[in-house]
């Protein structure tokens, strides 16, 4: 920043502040899309496939159409634009045409809009669809045979690989070699608010879409294609979003396309809110991943080689699978300096629910496998699981599994040291031994995991990796911040307010961060990949700094003081000679002097080199690291696991909002624990049975550990706002692995599948008997 003094201390960054949207959310004033009501509003309902795989022979909507109160019943014939959806590969029909196949139980065949939800539901039941049932592909193994094809080009959509060093030489050089198979199941995002969109038709704008979403710009590209209208006729405004976890990355594009079609044909506002059952049955989940791991180590525990093959169950459509796979690929060998790495991952189509984005994007599954292998190796070598990780941890100058040289902000070792310290590790181990000697039916175990997490979209997503902001300082000194990323419960608005406050020197309560509206700010990429604080934050910071420097210039000129002696802090502008002005008064003066008080910010990802053939290169702009130690108690009579203590240390670059950070880590821990223990999608013939929260089991407040100690390592990242990196996803990554390792330690058998449900654990215990 030119002209104004750079301060070393911050007045708001790193301080404990109240969440900016807390009051509205706690008191129920915040409106979610299901709360919206408009004159003449219609209700939308979907007609879903009844089979995992079948040919649609005939769709008859005549009975549905004549029901009183029905305003539209639409099929593929009513799509004015392209009947094709898909953020990466356009392989998914918006509405399945006659003659074509439904590919999973959630495929949409028709849409209904009616005066009331009840009428819409009744009409949906009157839509008659004639199917010819076909043999579905329900497992990765069946898919790989390619006897039946989910899509014409075969069941393997894409494959990705890493070839680093010489794998044969690496194993030849190893003293110990271990091999094993792992399986990580689906996970449902389980956001509290189901998918929902309100589409309104109006003559000025064309279509305006309000909705629960992470990525308004995805919606703004998808809807015009389906409607066959130009992009400037579709405006997307994010409504309050009650949780997302990746489940509202690309899915709202499909929901919005369905809803917009109904609005387009009826010329009325249409509200389409999924029931929990429809939501779970149709929308994307975390990918099941089957993997085979082979690890080579020297006698003293140095990792020499790792060879991994993995298959991801993509379900019926690609959605975001190719980019999810990229992250699985890069994270498959976890956070270690390993000279020889070979990874092969295939994305496989099946006739089941499509899988896509979920906090961690394909990495918790492989981190679980790798971290299990590392702990098993430690056991084999009679080493402590901490020591083996310390020995192989990444440091400045180390090379990652894609051969990227790490140049700064590598807090990995510090997170290991902190985790050991906060858990009082040696004492913890002693207590576990003592407990296990005394108890026959209850056994305790300690699990360790150590992870890496690439921040933002990485080399494979560089074309999307930029973000914008529009900041306006009003004449009363209050500020509107528009940015292109979304608040979905994670606290984005709070941290962005803090960044704007710090960068402008204004008080936080004078700042309002508005929900994204595609007509204000250029496409800022998705709100995913733990990138919002870094990307949105940098864009907001640069816009604020431009305005501040103009205000400073005005202040210097009118007060006749040197510009480099002016400071802006907490609503007051000061010079070293005691000259002082209120931020708002100065804003008014600037307005009177015609100073430009609105500014755009634009942050672009540093460019990364990447070779997709070899999987070698700069995979991500920077990485977050974490180490976790958990203590579990397993009931040997029931197989049930209780996590009783958790200790977790995270390298975040710089703590901007310490309260928000703790919130993210608590939430990530609990969601990761749920994945590790009991969140299980069960299916029958491809249909999801666990389609509501009665049977899809997520943790409650009484399942979380009594003690969860959270620690942060600060190792500044030079490109991050004030040195920050992301935390949204790294918060979850270590937990499934740590929990699985702890159970393995407790029962003396290796957990090779997550969730490690009580039934699975009981079976392992019984095998020993």
């Amino acid at each position: 920043m030119q002209g104004v003094t750079e301060k070393h201390g911050y007045f708001i960054i790193g301080k404990e502040v109240q969440r900016v949207d807390a009051f509205q959310k706690v008191t129920g004033q915040a409106k979610f899309v299901a709360d919206f009501d408009m004159k003449d509003m219609l209700y939308g309902v979907l007609v879903l496939s009844k089979y995992a795989r079948a040919r649609v022979k005939k769709i008859d909507v005549s009975k549905a159409k004549i029901l009183k109160g029905v305003k539209a019943v639409l099929t593929y014939k009513d799509i004015p634009g392209e009947n094709q959806l898909g953020e990466v590969v356009a392989d998914m029909p918006c509405l399945v045409p006659e003659g074509e196949e439904v590919r999973y139980h959630g495929d949409v065949v028709a849409l209904v809009a009616a005066d009331t939800l009840k009428i819409a539901k009744s009409a949906a039941k009157l839509v008659e669809v004639e199917y010819e049932e076909l043999t579905p592909i329900l497992t990765i193994e069946e898919a790989l045979k390619n006897e039946y094809k989910v899509h014409p080009n075969g069941n393997v959509l894409t494959s990705k690989r890493i070839r680093k060093g010489n794998i044969e030489a690496g194993f030849a050089d190893s003293d110990v070699i271990l091999e094993d198979d792992f399986y990580a199941h689906y996970q449902e995002q389980a956001y509290l608010e189901p998918q929902g969109i309100l589409a309104t038709f109006d003559n000025n704008y064309g279509i305006t879409i309000y909705g629960s979403m992470q990525c308004p710009y995805y919606v703004q590209s998808a809807v015009p294609k389906v409607l066959g209208i130009p992009m400037n006729q579709v405006r997307v405004i994010q409504a309050e979003t009650g949780g997302a976890f990746g489940g509202k990355e690309d899915v709202p594009s499909y929901v919005a396309s369905q809803c917009a079609l109904l609005a387009y044909h009826t010329k009325k506002p249409v509200l389409l809110v999924y029931s929990r059952e429809v939501d779970i049955q149709t929308t994307s989940k975390r990918h099941p991943i089957k993997s085979h791991y082979k690890l080579g180590l020297s006698r003293d525990g140095k990792l020499k080689a790792v060879e991994i093959t993995a298959h991801m169950d993509m379900g019926a459509y690609a959605t975001l699978s190719p980019i999810v796979m990229y992250r699985s690929l890069v994270h498959a060998a976890s956070a270690y300096d390993i000279p020889n790495v070979k990874v092969d991952i295939d994305g496989v189509y099946t006739n089941k629910v499509p899988c896509g984005a979920f906090r961690g994007f394909g990495s918790p599954q492989v981190l679980f496998a790798m971290e299990s292998m590392v702990s098993e190796a430690a056991k084999r070598l009679k080493m402590d699981p901490i020591d083996i990780r310390m020995k192989n941890a990444l440091r400045v100058g180390s090379r990652t599994s894609t051969d990227q040289v790490l140049t700064e902000s590598v807090g990995a070792v510090k997170t290991i040291e902190h985790a050991v310290k906060i858990s009082n590790y040696d004492e913890l181990k002693r207590q576990v031994i003592e407990f296990n000697e005394k108890n026959k039916f209850k056994k305790r175990g300690i699990g360790v995991s150590h992870i890496i997490y690439g921040v933002s979209l990485g080399a494979a997503g560089q074309h999307l990796d930029a973000a914008g902001a529009l900041v306006q300082v009003h004449r009363d000194g209050t500020i509107n911040v528009h940015f292109g990323n979304t608040e979905m419960g994670q606290g984005a608005k709070t941290v962005i307010s803090m960044i704007a406050a710090e960068a402008l020197g204004q008080k936080m309560d004078k700042i309002r961060v508005d929900n994204p509206d595609t007509s204000y700010v250029q496409d800022s990429g998705p709100t995913v990949a733990s990138r919002t604080t870094v990307f949105g934050g940098n864009a907001v910071k640069s816009a604020c700094e431009s305005i501040k420097s103009r205000m400073a210039k005005h202040f210097a000129k009118t007060r006749k003081v040197p510009i480099d002696e002016i400071t802006f802090e907490n609503g007051t502008v000061k010079t070293s000679n005691g000259e002082e002005e209120d931020f708002g008064k100065l804003a008014q003066e600037c307005y009177d002097a015609n100073v430009k008080m609105i500014e755009r910010g634009w942050f672009v990802s540093p460019k990364l080199y990447w070779n997709p053939e070899t999987g070698i290169g700069e995979a991500y702009i920077t990485y977050a690291y974490a180490t976790q130690i958990v203590l579990v108690e397993v009931d040997m009579l029931t197989g049930r696991t209780q996590v009783i203590e958790g200790y977790t240390s995270h390298d975040v670059g710089k703590k901007l909002n310490p309260v928000g950070l703790v919130g993210q880590v608590q939430g990530g821990f609990v969601q990761g624990m749920g994945y590790g223990l009991f969140e299980e999608i069960k299916t029958s013939s491809g249909k999801i049975l666990t389609d509501n929260f009665n049977t899809y089991i997520i943790p409650t407040i009484s399942d979380i550990p009594k003690k969860l100690v959270i620690d942060f390592v600060e190792d500044d990242y030079s490109q991050g706002p004030f040195g920050a990196k992301g935390i949204g996803e790294p918060s979850l990554m270590p937990t499934p692995a740590a929990v699985a390792n702890a159970i393995s330690d407790a029962i003396g058998r290796r957990i090779k599948r997550i969730p490690a449900t009580q039934e699975y654990v009981m079976n392992l215990i019984e095998e020993v008997k």
Binding site: K118, F441, L637, Q642, T695, I697, T700, T757, Q758, E759
Partner: protein
């Protein structure tokens, strides 16, 4: 999902309103409304019991307690004679749902719902509770429940109260194995009551939930236990007997095989519990 909702103020009104075909009784609604939402039942009218003063009572008599039909779990848990005389029932209902569910749900609803997974119901089986019906009859709970979701309640009648006879037990135990710590339906549950001295059993009752069409009392195991010394051998034999007698099924919460293992294993808790006498 359209139905008429009625809130009678007296038992006479209740009886009249209930006589219409398609009428369903509702107390807390925590079972009924779930079934209405998923379309399992389609009521024409729903008649609520909650404003009828004569159904809202708790009585602590010398030889029994009597629980009125509209007493919620939360109210019951605050009722001191319950913890004192029936700690087993207290433990069982403490595991029902969440505080919100216990603020609405009732023991009577649990009985009439007649689920083999009913936690309150399992305790009532063990305590030999009796169900008082509006026609004046009083029926043992085991006869009242005739199958999953089925009862011997005559049409047009309703349950007025539950009677639980007092009896002194040395040991009581209840355990529900669910998929998480709260808000969970049992995969298998067990309860037992023991009267013993110096670890020699004088009287024994044991029941399992979620492993048969109804809650299951194992009378022959109860007989077998009489006079036995509580030790590893004893629990081992009981465990074997239990395994042969339960016939669980697979469902979305757990497999039949797992349920069987649970039933057999839970008995081993007795080794620790047995030391109490």
């Amino acid at each position: 999902m359209d139905f008429v909702f009625m809130i009678p103020n007296t038992e006479e009104e209740l009886k009249t309103q209930l006589s219409e075909p398609g009428s369903f009784l509702m107390t807390g609604g925590t079972d009924l409304l779930v079934k209405v939402r998923i379309g399992k039942i389609k009521p024409k009218r729903v008649v609520s019991t909650i404003r009828i003063p004569t159904l809202h009572f708790l009585k602590d008599k010398i030889d029994e307690i009597v629980i009125g039909a509209t007493i919620t779990y939360s109210e019951l848990m605050d009722f001191k004679p319950l913890i004192k005389n029936f700690p087993l029932l207290y433990d069982a209902i403490y595991t029902v749902g969440s505080p919100q569910i216990r603020n609405r749900g009732t023991l009577v609803g649990n009985v009439v719902n007649a689920s083999p997974a009913g936690d309150g119901l399992l305790a009532l089986y063990l305590l030999n509770a009796k169900i008082e019906i509006s026609d004046g009859s009083v029926v043992p709970v085991e006869e009242f429940v005739t199958g999953p979701g089925q009862t011997a309640l005559p049409s047009g009648e309703y349950v007025r109260a539950i009677h639980i006879p007092k009896y002194d037990w040395s040991v009581h135990y209840f355990e529900k194995v669910g998929q998480r710590n709260s808000m969970t339906i049992s995969i298998a549950s067990v309860g037992w009551l023991i009267r013993c001295k110096n670890r020699i059993i004088d009287e024994f009752r044991i029941a399992y939930g979620s492993v048969a069409p109804t809650v299951l009392r194992l009378r022959d195991v109860e007989e077998f236990a009489k006079g036995k010394h509580i030790d590893e051998d004893f629990t081992h034999s009981i465990s074997k007997m239990v395994e042969e007698r339960v016939h669980p099924i697979d469902d979305v919460r757990g497999s039949a095989k797992y349920r069987k293992i649970l039933c057999a294993n839970l008995v081993y808790r007795m080794i620790e519990e047995g030391t109490k006498c």
